[in-house]
Amino acid sequence: MKCLLCNALIKWHPPIRDLLSLKALRSPRLCKNCRSRFIPLAGGKGCPGCQRQGFNQICPECQAWQERVGFCLSVRACFSYNEAMKEFMHAYKFAGDYRLHQAFSFELTALVKESGAEVVIPLPLHPATQKERGFNQVKGLLECQYQSLLITKDQEKPRPQSVKNRQERLATPQPFRLLSSNKVAGKSVVLVDDVFTTGRTMYHAAELIKDAGCKTICGVTLAN
């Protein structure tokens, strides 16, 4: 097995405990060196909303959301968004190296399962982007069942969030449409995205699901 990022050979001996258990064996996809550049976010610490480190209570940004939309969404992330994650996202999304979806699919899926939600909804891509890229980066990272209940609304391709500044991002109008509100009514829902930055995209989606009458809603992202 070779490291997906640096192509170095990975030496791996499955632990005896894993060999004896009947679970599927899972060899590492990244070498130790590359892996150590990604910083996992410890569960439960930081702001209860967005997991931002250094806060015990709700951080000012989540308070701002509370005032803006009337609720605060609990969004958990696997890793912090550092230079390594930025490079990874660039290689995976923009250069389009789809093999990299295996690098963190296990971690993200585990976090999604941990949320215990009945309905898993990945955030959609604009159809033009999806066609150009050939894949949806969030769906690629999910190893569990999911329902693509959200679709993008407008026909014209908007400017991507990643090239906008903070103010522009926050001023983005609702881009999504919910396909069927019965499927989420009275259910617990988890929204999945790749990167959580200002929270605008995630809150747009959450507003739609909340309006459809879900029981609970939370979010999971790969990086924050």
């Binding site: 190296d97 789809y98 093999r99 999806q130 050939g134 894949f135 949806n136």
Partner: protein, 437 residues
């Protein structure tokens, strides 16, 4: 887009965009059952590894040049050689030695007949100057010519030298970090990776430092070179340390060879001296240099003799820098490695005589000249130094007419076959050079 952009190129265009000039696109990938072959880099891929959820496939091997997917198309126009050749393109004023002259003429004749040839000349023989004659004649004939190298440093050093020698000829410089867009030029300097974007473009292609990483070990780059030249195009390999594979092709008479075992100044190559030192890494970690190494360093610093000190790995740089500071006190030196952001500045500081010495990894093994230096290698028995690398490192010494000799000292823990082989190769070259006289 102009038609020029497609001459001798394979331009990748997304399926959603219209075909330029009403051309018919070529397939980007060949799918045969469970195997996918990328038509740009010739990589054979397992379909299940490279399938995208939308049903297409992509090539992860040449991803850096822009992703090839099976939904896209290549567009190509045949190379028309739309140049107006100058009557006298070469403005180089230098003089070749009689031996260089003989080889230069042989290479020029071979290039006129589009031979596949190896120019095997020792380090510091003046390979670049020897191909000027051949390049001049090729440019006069109106041929499209490229000089490619696996190392971007070599390209960056070649470009100003060639531009100075061919002042009136516009040259295109292509490499991954160059922000300038592609230009259609009669003479191109590029990295070997960039050759993947060409298709039947060049009448003659020169590959400098052909045995360097990653060209030597990457079949995709060999493929790149073979398809970047026209079907009857010529290929010239330049190196001081040809690989076994190249020599085997010479032996099988598939490759012609021109040979110059003597340096431009006619003096022999300095031979390698080996000195056994104990566990030097352990000593370095204690902040101490091996005794023999220290003596060597101190005598040179006293004489103001500049030198390069090679170490096997990037991780060795920190302990050795600490030990050097500890043992030598206030001597001005720097350490440099491949991904050092100040790499170019540090090398320049060494060139400008601002440093007593430079501690480096293998990145400075080839393609660089510091006139009149000595070289020491700590841990030369490490696996990272191949025979070719050791010969190249030894070849940094004695490259100026003023100081044609110099010391090459390897500090080792145990003898290695690679060092023995390097010593043998240097001795062999010197023996052959003596025969020439």
């Amino acid at each position: 887009m102009q038609k020029e952009q497609l001459y001798g190129r394979r331009v990748l265009i997304n399926q959603a965009q219209p075909a330029p000039f009403g051309l018919v696109g070529e397939k980007t990938m060949v799918i045969r059952g469970s195997v996918v072959i990328c038509r740009r880099c010739n990589a054979r891929l397992k379909k299940t590894d490279v399938a995208l959820p939308d049903g297409s496939c992509y090539c992860p091997v040449c991803l850096n040049l822009g992703r090839v997917t099976s939904h896209d198309y290549f567009y190509h126009l045949e190379e028309p050689n739309h140049f107006s050749p100058l009557p006298d393109p070469c403005s180089w004023q230098g003089q070749l030695s009689p031996l260089q002259e003989v080889v230069a003429r042989e290479v020029a004749r071979g290039m006129a007949e589009h031979h596949h040839r190896l120019l095997w000349a020792v380090t510091g023989a003046g390979k670049t100057e020897m191909i000027f004659l051949a390049l001049t004649e090729a440019l006069k004939r109106g041929e499209r010519v490229a000089i490619a190298s696996p190392r971007v440093d070599v390209c960056l050093e070649l470009y100003p030298r060639l531009q100075a020698a061919f002042k009136k000829v516009p040259i295109a410089l292509l490499h991954g970090k160059n922000p300038q867009p592609y230009q259609y030029r009669q003479l191109t300097i590029c990295t070997t990776h960039q050759l993947l974007r060409f298709y039947h473009a060049f009448d003659n292609l020169v590959i400098d430092e052909v045995d360097a990483f990653p060209f030597a070990s990457d079949p995709g780059l060999h493929f790149a070179a073979s398809q970047a030249i026209k079907e009857d195009g010529g290929l010239l390999y330049l190196t001081a340390t040809p690989s076994k594979e190249l020599l085997e092709r010479v032996r099988q008479k598939k490759l012609k060879v021109s040979y110059l075992p003597q340096r431009f100044h006619g003096h022999p190559l300095p031979q390698i001296q080996t000195v056994l030192v104990g566990r030097w890494r352990k000593k370095l970690n204690k902040g101490v240099l091996p005794r023999q190494t220290k003596t060597w360093l101190v005598t040179r610093i006293k004489r103001h003799q500049e030198f390069l000190l090679f170490v096997p790995h990037v991780v060795d740089l920190v302990p050795i820098a600490r030990a050097l500071k500890n043992e030598l006190g206030a001597v001005k030196f720097m350490t440099v490695h491949a991904s050092d952001p100040d790499r170019l500045d540090k090398v320049q500081a060494m060139r400008d005589h601002q440093l007593a010495f430079l501690v480096t990894t293998t990145i400075l093994e080839r393609g660089v000249t510091f006139p009149g230096i000595d070289v020491g290698v700590l841990g030369a028995d490490s696996e990272i130094f191949s025979t070719a690398a050791l010969v190249q490192i030894a070849g940094r010494v004695g490259r100026s007419l003023e100081r044609p000799g110099g010391a090459v000292t390897f500090w080792i823990q145990e003898n290695s076959r690679r060092i023995e082989e390097a010593r043998r190769q240097i001795a062999e070259m010197n023996r052959r050079a003596r025969k020439l006289k």
